[in-house]
Every structure is written in structure tokens, then in C-alpha cells.
Amino acid sequence: MRSRSLPLLVLLVASLAAAQYKMALPGYHYQFPRDHFNHPEFQTEWWYYTGNLRAPDGHRFGFELTFFRTGLTGNQPPDSTWAARDLYFAHLALSDLDGQHFYHVERSNRAGPGIAGADEKTETIWNGNWQVHLEGDRQDLQAVSDQFNLRLTMESKKPPVIHGENGVSQKAEEQGRASHYISLTRLLTAGVIEIENKAYQVTGTSWMDHEFFTHQLEPDQVGWDWLSLQFDDDTELMLFRIRRKDGSIDSSSAGTYIDPRGLSHHLRAGDFTLRPSPDTWTSPNSSAVYPIRWQVSVPALGIAGEVRTPLPKQEMTARSKLANSYWEGAIDLTATRAGQRLSGRGYLEMTGYDRPVQLGQ
């Protein structure tokens, strides 16, 4: 079957069967390392790893490795190891920023006899030979593909951040339209990138997002823009805005600021602005038009500036027209904080530009 389109289809199917799953509600008690792994009682869960890396000669790279899990069925699945209770899919991308090249691969699997999972016992999140192994504050990432391989070791400098208020990151007004959202915002990273048999020793900083939920967007919400920024002064910022069908910005848009000690500060929709500049890039594959320059300001923190990408073509193009494509790529920040120059790097994600995203409705 032409299920190169599987991921998003699954979300469609999944939405029919959500009744048996838990919703993300305030008051969730987080526990680590337990909560780094699987939450099968929630229908959808994902782990995003993104980072900006640099070789000793200054050659810059960005990478993304994302593991998704989504519960498939409301029916009684067959009594078999291979029963498809969940669909595991994963996206892997490498941005050769100086080489101006973007590689990306995706794959879908079922848990089967251990083909994919996110298992507390083995402390591993994996999909085939793409995996992250956790050991205390250390995470080992490995991913193999036809064109490139990643072998990275990441050391978390800060405790996990829990976004939102009272343990939930609200995405719409209705109760339960929310996720449990955890981040590791400063992962010092070192390792090897191999592209077509050429190896680069790299170092840099990565970011991990982990969300689990059952309901999320409302039908009126068509997509989101999200960014993570790691400033040079050891602080980080995460912002997202949800776009509505009528072009307005949803009031559930929010963000989090993490100070050098690792304490997080919740930002509401009114606390920041995230505005696209007219500078756009049109994907030749999906024909989606993405804004690639954004104005960012957080008045309460005195931060104002602009993010740009060194590589416009960082679209994760879906293999089928039935699934959503999205833009996820490395960005650079030029800004000021209280008049002082502030620079940083991060990742920007833009969804719903080819057509509306339907997620956990």
C-alpha cells in the first residue's frame, strides 16, 4: 500500500479512537527518568531532538531526529506480537548549513518484536536503527541512513523543564486540549557526523522536546509556529503560536524562558510576539510558502530581535500528498536584551503551511 503517507493518516484514524485514552489534565505528577519514556495511556507521544553543531574547521550542521508514537486502534487488536497497537514513525534530517544541503528520511514501524519503542527498562527510545539511549544526564544518539550517519553524545546541563502551568501545556481553551510537555533545553553535544563516507567531528548544543497527549488542536486551529533558542548567556527560550483559520493567533499560544539556574518562567500569549517578516521560501516539493525570517520580542525579558535561517530548504517533505509536510530547521538569532547584544542559535518549526494540520481532534 502506498503508505508513505502513513503518519498523518494515522492521526486521522487515531482521532476516531481517542475515547479509550487519557487526556492531559492539570496536576500530572512528573517523575524522572520514568517520564522520559513511553506513556501508552496517551494516544500520541513524540520525542524531538534538534541541535546546532560545528566541526573544528567551522563547518556548521543542524540535525533533527524525531520519534513519534500514536495509538492506532479502538478495536481489540489481534493477539500477536505484531499487532499494530501503535504506529511508530520517525523523521531524521541533517542540515549541512555550510554545504547548503538538506538530507531527510522518514520511516514507519510497529513495535513488533522490538522493532520500535520507548522503553524505561532498557532506557531507550528507538525506531529500528535510529535510537537514543539515556543514562542519567547522558543521552547517546545513533542514526543510520543510506546517505549519512549520526553518532552523538549529549550531556544535559539543566534539569527537565515542564512547560505550561500546573503540568499541562494548553493548546486550546477546552479542558484536555493540552499536552504534557517536557524539554531538556541545554544538551552539550559531541560526536561524529558521516556524510557519504566523510566523517566530521562535531560539537554543539542540542534540545530535546517530549510531549504526550490525546487531544490537542481544535478544528479551527490550522497549524503552529514553534521555536527554540539557546542564547550565548546560558539561557533558553521556547515560544509557540497557534494559527486559527481566520488568520488570527490563538490565545493558547505560549512560551517558556529558562534562566541560567534551570528555573523556568511561563510566558502567556500576551507576554511575547512572534511575527513573520515578508521574506519567504517556497517549497518546490509541496508548494508551501514558509516565512523564513521572524521578529521575536519578549518585552518582560527585554528581548527583541530577529531569527533567520542559514538554509531555507529545510522542509521535511511528506512522501505522500496525503500527509502534511513541515519546515523544521536550524536558525540564528540576532537580538538585544536590555540594550546588550544577544546572540543564539535554535530550531524553528512551521506546520500547516501546505494545508491544515489535524492533530488529536
Partner: protein, 846 residues
């Protein structure tokens, strides 16, 4: 220019004068070539490519991971997680029968989620499938995807027989069939595992590894990551193994198909010889007028080549037609003896056509070499001395006998030589030497016998018989060739008849020992040597509790690959063998002793073909990959087995379950309590089996079925023999016709002197009859010797069976009488021609 005219005058014109004789020769060549062609084409279609039908939807993978009885499914995860850029396709593989059309097709379980990861041919095959809905059918046990060739539409219901149950499924999508002729049913791997009873295992994982560094390097890297009992081999090894397994079968078939051609060669030889003898005066005149020896040689070789070309061209459509009949017969044989196959169509391709024509011309020219050379040696002076050649034949009788003796000795030696790469090349050599020996011995034999018999014949059948007999001895050379041709055909028929008859009798005797139980059960569906559908173990347990049932024995078979050849590994309740007799084992040991050594141990008995194929014997050990482990099995003994040409390894069921813990049996044997009524128990069993598709056989049914399969298997052999005989009989007819034309003067004289037409007819018919008797005698003797070579050398080396020699008297008497009658009938037309001669005219010619 001269040579063309020469060719026309010397060759074409005489031929045109006797169109019937020319046509007969051409037709004989055509038959011979068409049989060779038909077997080649049918062999290619039925067994040639020997891509196993399970290779469908296998795409462009280059390695495969397998183990006997399947590999543990965890292996799939291990492979998926190896840090190499490998494409993976895990498969559950079995067969299913579509209930409505009774068509048996591969049933393939694929991971329909991961198949979408690669842009492989198998995922493209699914491009027509409605992706949007496909996903929700994944966990639905009723969902199947069906190959386009089966003719279903999405939403249709389809009833499938899998193992011992038939169930209705819903067609969720249609995919494009890949292999020529092979369709398939696809299920999601989860459903397939469940439906075919392969929980916890998959049958194969196909891999696509990168080209760099090398396929061998990848093979060893992957092997290193897996337990020792799991095999990593080149994808398509199964096909290669099938081919290897079938090569001996095809070889023997091919050799047999050449028999008709050899007989045809005799006829060409005969025809050209007759031409030469009859045209001696003309040759002499032409030579006197300045034609060179080379020109004469070329002219006669040209005649043969014409026969060859005409015959082979006629053979092309004939062979194609015969092939389409043969392909059905062949594929049934292949299916019941070797491996599941879907025959392709027997298409006439250019290489085969060229091969056919070349073989036809080559055979014709080669067989004409000797008479053509003889013609070229004719000197103008002696051209009129017609009797000289016959004289030479007489003179060399003794020398020919010595040659015959030497060839016979060489044949004896060749029969002692071992096989060459599994092919009994020396066996064939021995057979050819025997035929050669008999050909050289025939002149002496004919001479002696006709001398001895002429008086007797004269006394019994009158003066006409005496004349006939003398005339045969008189033209000894021609008679010898005719007897040689017919005798060779008869010998082949006799030899194959004796071998097949012996084989049949051996099997009948063997089966009497082999089927000690009262009732036998197996799942319904087509039988094939490499398919082992199973029944539910609960059903077996329930049977044991039925009233009147004394015991139920279970037998479970798996397909394995042992040292590059397919084999069957079976676990049997040792009771199955409690009725074994000492004579069933090659060692002749008491069965109790043998079975005691096997009980619960890593010990096995192997079938005779297995022992012969792999040259392993009692006391040695074999390494068999079992359930992901490498198990060393000690061979306790070798047993006779005629059920399959594939090798069989039998171990204790308890031992098998230790490595492959699937209790489902492939066959059951039910012993009825003493005094209980077998029919009543059978009814009980059929009642208990309600809802399952199992077949119940009595021992008698099974014997009949086995013999039926056996006869079907050898049908093609008989057909080939029949064609050879037909060619030979046609030769007799043609030769007698030549004889009549040749002896016009003699017959005219006889008529002139007052012989009645009836008397002439009698002379011709007695000659035909005598030829038949001589050929039958020589053929029978030679056939007996050839049958020994067939049974004890060629069969043993190709297939590894021990066959007890047995004369199939009824068959032989029947066949030989038929041949005899046919030779006499072949004399009818020439006899009629002789009676029509106008004596006045003939004498007037003088």
C-alpha cells in the same frame, strides 16, 4: 553448377520418384526432433526457471535470513537495529487454496507498515491499494490483499483454505502480481502468523544491503550479529537449490528424449544406405563422367541434410504442440516429487528453435557419414558389382563381434564408475556402449538366426517363408540396420518398462510395511513434496479420546535446506515406527534398537536418498539449523524411502519439540482398537473433524493414491518411449517399401514364374514378421541389460533409490506384442505394392 545438377540428378530426382519413402524419413526425423524440443520446452516451463513460487513479491533484495522451521521473530528486531543501512522485509510464507477455484497460491505475510518505508517493487505492487483505508484494516483478521491475476475486486469475499481450516476473508485491495504465472494472497504479518500457525516466528527476512564493500562482507557481518543456527545466504538460494535438485531429473528426461532421435538416426542411416546401394550404377556412371569423390560425398550428405532440415522445420510446430501436453504432465511430476511450482507456458523461443534445427541436421548428417563415404568410395569400374558390399558385411562379422565384446566389457566397467557432480555420466556411457555392442553383434546374430531358422520356417510356413528368411540374410547389412533401429527402440522401452515396473513393485511392497495404521489424516488442499500444512493439535488430542481409537501418532514435517539442497526434516512419534521391520533399514538392524537410540536424543534416521545425496551414513553426524540453533544429529540408521526424491531426516517428535515447540502435526496415523470397526471409527473421526478441512484415508486409499501419483509421474516416460517405437515402426515400413522397390525384378520374376499375389504378400509379411522377431529378441536382451544400468547405476546415482529388480511380465508381453503387430502392419502397404507389380512390365524392363 555441375554439383547442383549432380545433386538434382543423383539425389533429388530419385527422391521425387518415391515421395512416400522420403516423407516417412522426414517425418521420422521430425518426430525425433520434436520430442527433444518438446521436452526441452516443457522442461523449461515446468522446471527450468525453478523460481519457487514463494519468491513472489520479493523485489530487489540480495540476501535472505532463514532457519529450519522459521526464525524467532526477535531476530527481525535484531536485524532492524543493526547499525547498517539495510532494507528489510520480514515474511511469513505458506500456501493457501482459494476455495472457489481450488487454486493453490502462495500466502505471504508482510509487515504492511514497514513495507512502505522503501520504494521497493513489492511496495510498488501495492500502489493500487487504497492507502487511506488500508491502515484501519491492519488489525482486522479478515483482511487480505489479493493478486490481480486471481480476478477479485476490493470488497469481495474470498474463501481460503489455510492448513486445516477454511475461512472467509474480505478483499481489501488488489496488488499487481510480479512473477509470471504466479499470483498470491497477502496478509499483514500479524494475521498471517496467526492463520498459518507460525506464532513467534517468521519464515524469512529478505535484505537489501548496499553494494559496498561486497555482498560477502555484508553476509558475514550480518551472520556475526545472529545466533549460529540462523542462515544468511544469497537471496534466491532456494531457487538455486531447487534447480540443483531438479537437474538430475531434467538430465534423465532430456537423455530419454534423445532416444527417439537416436532411433531417427538409425533410419537416416538406413535411408541413405539404401539410396547408395540402389544408385551404385548411377554413382559409377557419374564418377566415370568425372565427378570427384568429394562431390559424391557431399551429394549424399546433402541428401541427409535435406532430411534433417525438412524434419526439423516440421518438428518446430510439432514440438511446440507436444510441449504443451508435456508441460502439464511434467509440472505434476515436479509438484508431487519435488517442489511447489507454477508452470510457465511452453513458448517456442529462438534459441530452442535453433537448437532443434541444428540437432536435427547434425544427427542427419552424422548418421549419413558412413554410407555417404561408402558411396564416394565407389569406383566407376566396380559400380556394377552390386553384391560386394554385402560380401564385406559378411566378412567382418567376426571382427564386429569382437568389437561388440569389447564395448560390452567397457560398458561393464563404466557402470562401476561413480557419478560426476550428481550426474550419472558413466551410467549413460555404459548404456550407449551397450547399445553400440548390440549394434555390432546384430549382423552375426541375424545371420546365425536366419540360417538356423530358415529350414524351420520353410517347413512351417512354406516356401515363401524360406524365401523371406534367405532374403533377409542375403541383404544382411540392411537387415542389421533395421533390426538395430527397432531393437534399440524396443530395448529402451523394455529397459524403462522394467525399471518402472520394478520401481512400482518395490513401492507396493514397501508401502505394505509403511502403512501399519488403519487411518491416516492430513489437511485438505493440494499435496506437494515441499508443503507441510498442519492440523490443530487439539484435534489430534480429541481423536485419541474417541471410542475405538487405540492410538494416534503425530508426524510433523518442515522444509529445510541442508548443504545447498532442499530436504525435509520430520519429527515423528516413535510409535509410528514400532511396526518398522528390520528390512526397512539399510543395516537390517532390529527396529527397537534403532528407535531406542533415537528416543529423546539428538539422533536421527535418514532416508536413503538423503544418505546418497550427501554421502552420509550411520554413525556420522549432521549439523542441522533448527529453530535458530545449530543442532548436531547423530545418524542412527538409514531407512528405505520411496515417497520422495528429496532427502528426509526423521527425529523423535520430543526432540523436535525441544527446538521448534509447535505441536501442530502435519499428518496423523490412527490405530483402531482390536475388534473395533474401522468404518465406524472413521465416521467418528469425520464427525469430530466437522468444520475442519482434513482428509481421512484408509491405508488402502493411500496405497492407491501413491500408485496413482506414481503412474502419473511416469506417464511422460511412457509417452517418450511410445514416440521412439513409432519412429522405429515407421522405419520398418519405409525400409520394407524400399525393399519392395529394390526387388521389383525379383518379385516380377516370381510372379512371372507363377507366384500368386498372396504368396508375394506372404513373403513381405513374413519378412516384416521376421524383422519384428529379430528386433524383439535383440531388444529384449539389450533392454534387460539396459534396465540393470538404469536401476542400479543411473537411478541410484541420480536419485538414490534402491529398487528391487522385477520383471513386469504383463506390461512387457503386451508392449512387445504391440510392437510386433505394428511391424507386421507396417509391412502391409509394401506388400500391397508388391502384388500390384505388373510382371510383364518388370520383365520387359530387363
Amino acid at each position: 553448377m555441375l554439383s547442383v545438377r549432380l545433386f538434382y540428378r543423383l539425389i533429388v530426382r530419385p527422391l521425387l520418384r518415391e515421395p512416400w519413402r522420403a516423407a516417412l524419413t522426414v517425418f521420422a526425423v521430425a518426430l525425433g526432433v520434436s520430442v527433444v524440443l518438446a521436452i526441452e520446452l516443457a522442461g523449461n516451463a515446468a522446471a527450468g526457471s525453478f523460481r519457487s513460487s514463494l519468491e513472489t513479491l520479493s523485489g530487489n533484495t540480495n540476501l535472505e535470513v532463514t532457519a529450519a522451521g522459521g526464525i524467532p521473530e526477535q531476530t527481525v528486531a535484531t536485524l532492524e537495529r543493526l547499525p547498517y543501512p539495510i532494507e528489510l522485509h520480514a515474511r511469513v510464507e505458506d500456501y493457501t487454496t482459494v476455495a472457489d477455484s481450488a487454486q493453490t497460491v502462495p500466502l505471504i505475510g508482510l509487515d504492511l507498515i514497514s513495507e512502505s518505508n522503501n520504494d521497493s517493487p513489492q511496495s510498488r505492487a501495492f500502489d493500487t491499494v487504497d492507502a487511506e483505508n488500508a491502515l484501519q484494516y491492519l488489525n482486522d483478521l479478515n483482511s487480505v490483499w489479493v493478486g490481480s491475476r486471481l480476478g477479485y475486486k476490493p470488497g469481495d469475499r474470498i474463501r481460503l483454505l489455510v492448513n486445516d481450516h477454511t475461512r472467509e476473508y474480505v478483499v481489501r485491495g488488489i496488488f499487481n502480481d510480479q512473477n509470471e504465472g504466479v499470483s498470491a494472497i497477502v496478509m499483514d504479518i500479524a494475521t498471517a502468523q496467526r492463520e498459518v500457525g507460525r506464532m513467534g516466528r517468521v519464515d524469512r527476512v529478505l535484505l537489501k544491503v548496499p553494494d559496498e564493500p561486497s555482498i560477502e562482507e555484508w553476509q558475514s557481518r550480518i551472520r556475526d550479529a545472529l545466533p549460529s543456527g540462523i542462515e544468511v545466504r544469497l537471496e534466491g538460494s532456494g531457487t538455486a537449490e531447487n534447480r540443483k535438485m531438479l537437474s538430475a531429473f531434467r538430465w534423465n528426461l532430456r537423455v530419454l528424449s534423445y532416444v527417439a532421435l537416436v532411433v531417427g538416426a538409425f533410419l537416416i542411416y538406413n535411408t541413405i544406405s539404401v539410396s547408395v546401394v540402389r544408385r551404385r550404377p548411377e554413382i559409377g556412371i557419374v564418377r566415370a563422367l568425372g565427378a570427384t569423390r568429394g562431390a559424391i560425398l557431399l551429394a549424399f550428405l546433402g541428401e541427409a541434410a535435406c532430411f534433417g532440415v525438412a524434419g526439423s522445420l516440421l518438428a518446430l510446430p510439432l514440438g511446440r504442440a507436444l510441449a504443451s501436453v508435456a508441460v502439464r504432465l511434467l509440472s505434476m511430476t515436479v509438484e508431487s516429487l519435488y517442489v511447489s511450482s507454477t508452470p510457465g507456458s511452453a513458448a517456442l523461443n529462438l534459441p530452442s528453435a535453433i537448437l532443434g534445427v541444428l540437432v536435427g541436421i547434425a544427427v542427419a548428417v552424422v548418421s549419413a557419414l558412413s554410407p555417404a563415404r561408402e558411396a564416394s568410395l565407389v569406383s566407376p569400374v566396380e559400380a556394377m558389382a552390386r553384391a560386394r558390399r554385402e560380401y564385406i558385411a559378411r566378412v567382418h562379422k567376426a571382427r564386429d563381434l569382437w568389437i561388440a565384446l569389447a564395448m560390452a566389457l567397457a560398458a561393464g566397467l563404466a557402470s562401476r564408475m561413480p557419478a560426476v557432480e550428481g550426474k550419472p555420466l558413466f551410467g549413460y556411457l555404459s548404456a550407449i556402449l551397450l547399445i553400440g555392442a548390440s549394434v555390432f553383434a546384430i549382423p552375426a546374430f541375424v545371420d546365425r538366426l536366419s540360417t538356423l531358422s530358415s529350414n524351420l520356417l520353410g517347413r512351417c510356413f512354406g516356401v515363401e517363408a524360406l524365401l523371406a528368411s534367405r532374403s533377409l540374410a542375403g541383404s544382411l547389412r540392411r537387415t542389421s540396420v533395421l533390426v538395430g533401429a527397432l531393437a534399440t527402440a524396443i530395448a529402451m522401452m523394455t529397459a524403462v518398462g522394467i525399471m518402472v515396473g520394478s520401481f512400482r513393485q518395490t513401492i507396493v511392497v514397501w508401502m505394505n510395511d509403511q502403512l501399519p495404521a488403519d487411518l491416516y489424516l492430513r489437511p485438505a488442499g493440494d499435496e506437494s513434496a515441499d508443503r507441510h500444512p498442519t492440523m490443530s493439535p487439539e484435534f489430534a488430542d480429541a481423536l485419541a479420546k474417541l471410542p475405538g481409537v487405540a492410538a494416534v501418532d503425530r508426524y510433523r514435517a518442515y522444509e529445510i535446506s541442508y548443504q545447498g539442497l532442499p530436504a525435509t526434516l520430520a519429527g515423528a512419534d516413535l510409535q509410528v515406527m514400532r511396526d518398522f521391520r528390520s528390512s526397512d533399514f539399510v543395516s537390517g538392524r532390529a527396529p527397537d534398537k534403532v528407535l531406542d537410540e533415537m528416543r529423546r536424543r539428538d539422533a536421527a534416521i535418514i532416508s536413503e536418498p538423503f544418505s546418497n545425496k550427501h554421502r552420509v551414513h550411520a554413525g556420522q553426524s549432521i549439523n542441522v539449523p533448527l529453530g535458530g540453533r545449530n543442532v548436531s544429529l547423530r545418524i542412527v540408521d538409514v531407512y528405505y524411502d520411496y515417497a520422495s526424491e528429496r532427502g528426509v531426516i526423521v527425529i523423535d517428535r520430543m526432540t523436535l519439540l525441544r527446538y521448534l515447540p509447535d505441536p501442530a502435526p502435519s499428518n496423523l496415523a490412527v490405530y483402531v482398537q482390536q475388534g473395533a470397526n474401522v468404518d465406524a471409527v472413521r465416521q467418528e473421526i469425520e464427525f469430530a473433524a466437522a468444520g475442519r478441512n482434513v482428509l481421512v484415508f484408509t491405508d488402502r486409499d493411500l496405497r492407491r493414491e501413491a500408485i496413482r501419483i506414481f503412474d502419473r509421474t511416469f506417464a511422460i516416460t511412457y509417452a517418450l518411449e511410445a514416440v521412439a517405437i513409432l519412429v522405429a515402426v515407421m522405419g520398418i515400413g519405409g525400409a520394407l517399401l524400399a525393399l519392395v522397390i529394390d526387388r521389383r525384378r525379383e518379385f516380377g520374376l516370381l510372379r512371372f514364374m507363377g507366384a500368386a499375389t498372396g504368396q508375394l504378400r506372404k513373403i513381405i509379411l513374413v519378412e516384416a514378421g521376421l524383422l519384428g522377431v529379430l528386433a524383439n529378441l535383440v531388444g529384449l536382451g539389450l533392454g534387460f541389460l539396459l534396465s540393470l544400468v538404469l536401476i542400479f547405476v543411473i537411478n541410484k546415482q541420480s536419485f538414490g533409490w534402491t529398487i528391487q529388480f522385477h520383471w513386469p511380465v504383463a506390461v512387457l508381453v503386451g508392449a512387445l506384442s504391440a510392437v510386433y503387430a505394428a511391424t507386421v502392419v507396417a509391412g502391409l502397404y509394401p506388400a500391397r505394392l508388391a502384388t500390384r507389380l505388373n510382371p510383364i512390365e518388370v520383365i520387359h524392363e530387363e
